[in-house]
Amino acid sequence: MNEIMNLNPVLLIAVPIGLAMLVPILGLMSSKIVKWVPVVGFLFNSVVSLAVLPRVLNQPIIVKIAGFAPPFGINLVAGPVGMFLAALIAVSGFLVAVYSLDYIHEGAAEKYHILFLLLLSGATGVVLTGDIFNLFVFFEILCISSYALVAYLGNRSGIEAAVKYLIQGAIGSSLLLIGIGLLYGQFGTLNMADLAQNITSFSEPSVFVPMILMVTGLGIEAAIFPLNAWLPDAHSSAPSSISAVLSGIAIEVGLYAVIRVVFTICHVTGSFFVFLVAIAVVTVLIGEMSAFGQKNIKRMLAYSSIGQIGLILFAFSLATEFGVSGGLFQMLSHTLGKVLLFLSAGYMIYRTGSMEISSFEGVGKKMPWTALFFTIGTLSIIGLPPFAGFSSKFLIIKAALAKGDLLYILLMGIVLLGTVIEGTYFFRVVQVIYFKESNNKTEPEGPPVSGLISMSVFAILVVLIGLFPNAILKILTTAASELLNNLEYIRSVLG
């Protein structure tokens, strides 16, 4: 145990990449072992990240790559935020990999597993790195593997969605790179802590312009309001296991990067947050209202992700300790809940052969476990006790009330209205699943064991976190103070 705790966090990135490069060689020998590679990789990552997590709560681990001290070399910052998200990515990655064992049976399965490994190692790289250009590189790994996975099934909608996603994503990464270039030109450094130290005021045009460029570029991946046109198509066209990862992890990693730029590098204060809160509220309303009209289950879940991202951004833009830890908590409960929803919807779609919500009539009797997991996910996303979503939404409401400003309370009301809309359309699906008799007499069978195991672990996690939110609240408050207090961050990196 002690040895695992002392492992270097760089392995969280290096091991999945190495395994991905090993897959083609293994594929030449035997095609059966290939699908176990992501399982092994993310089991390793889960164990390491969960073992290291308690250690970084006291003192962030600064990993100097190649032994050069920051700001001269690239460094990883395994702080509370980074390790918390890395652990979340690793655990969900492991469970989705288990689910994929039997779910992925068409197409080039070997390449699916490579892309899946690289997608999540890119995400892990983004949350752990302490260098802005390195963040760009890992962000591109994340984006390019998402483009390929959206097109994985090779059908008309998949290709169309991937084309749209690629065009918008490519513009986003170019804007991000221009922003990085502008910052480098002025401050001569790419290290995030060093940049943060050199930036005294974010409102000068020389800092504000690159910040807006970077936030826009990253915001496309995070699907913040005017930049989210690609999301519903992309998330509904991918295989369900990938939709789960894209909705549950990829967009949150994008949002993490936005938050890192805004909080740590530029150390924004004051009126810019009001702007962010306004955008967040619009994102919530647009997402939830579009989801309301959907007849396709995966599009509905994708739009609901936009709403959830808006809620998370709202919590972060409160810029108080409660708000930021509420946002991180909402990230956790959204990941668990939305991945669970996509995974269970995946087998419901597979067995009924249709993505239309109306075709799920009677699924509750034919596939009782899958329907139960879907319902648990629904209740958690809506935010009913005793599920994880309740605790996180409660924390966010508390944070908005603690602001004491009438404006925030008003906006919180609008966000709650979004939650009510969310509840309506989710309950409609649950009603179809349980209370409508199907005319169709064929017997759809339940999912295979691997799928059941993975979904039940997610469901158990959702319930456990809902029942004992205090267990992770300490991690969240430490993480929130890392984000809010960038002097602490600078000191721990630069010494």
Partner: protein
């Protein structure tokens, strides 16, 4: 309408960028980090080419990501194009005598030049990526002139691709295990400055990258070409 909106957006972008650029005049002196690289890069990494010492020494982790991106592109292309049904090959012009003779004469030279470029990456302009691109251009010439049967062997290219990347990673992990405990640490002696066998792990990594990039770029062209036939 659409054009008007885009022009307005681009003008706002231009205005913002001009405001930001006024703080950074063209051609101003180096700042802290770059100055450190040119002053101490020689001693720190042993490479005469400071760009190489940045690419594989100070910012080696970026390069690992970069190698991964190229690997990813190769896999992604194969995924996007794999499920297509192969259509009958269209009539293809037979290559002319000039192309065939030129290919036989130039192909070994191109490979030799590519190898030179990636082996001398730490001494002169160039490196693994550039050398790999030169090698891939040789393979493009081959695709133009040789009929399909004699194409690149997929088994060999897969092997080069994976082994090249794995060598990079394993070298990094050896650095993590040996002595100083840093990932990608230079654990080989720096050798005599400005000679072929210097700069520790840098030439080893660049040779691995050269093979990898060469086979990957050739494979990308191969996959795209197969579809167009």
């Amino acid at each position: 309408m659409k054009k008007g909106v885009s022009i307005i957006l681009l003008l706002i972008l231009l205005w913002g960028v001009v405001a930001a650029l006024s703080e950074m005049p063209f051609g101003k002196a180096k700042l802290e980090v770059a100055g450190h690289y040119t002053d101490y890069g020689k001693e720190d990494t042993g490479a005469a080419n400071i760009v190489t010492s940045v690419v594989l020494g100070y910012r080696g982790f970026d390069t690992l990501g970069e190698v991964t991106v190229l690997f990813l592109a190769c896999i992604g292309l194969a995924v996007v194009l794999s499920t297509l049904k192969k259509q009958g090959c269209g009539a293809r012009q037979t290559p002319s005598l000039i192309l065939n003779t030129g290919f036989r004469f130039l192909f070994p030279l191109i490979l030799l030049f590519g190898t030179y470029v990636f082996m001398h990456g730490h001494l002169s302009p160039g490196g693994g990526f550039q050398g790999g691109a030169v090698i891939a251009s040789g393979f493009v010439l081959m695709y133009l002139s040789v009929p399909k049967i004699k194409r690149l062997n997929h088994f060999v290219s897969t092997l080069f691709e994976s082994v090249g990347g794995l060598i990079f990673l394993v070298i990094g992990l050896i650095g993590l295990k040996l002595g100083s405990q840093y990932f990608l640490n230079n654990f080989l002696p720096n050798g005599e400055f400005n000679t072929l066998l210097s700069a520790g792990i840098i030439p080893v990594i660049y040779i691995a990258i050269g093979f990898k990039v060469g086979s990957e770029l050739s494979k990308i062209i191969d996959v795209l070409l197969e579809e167009s036939e």
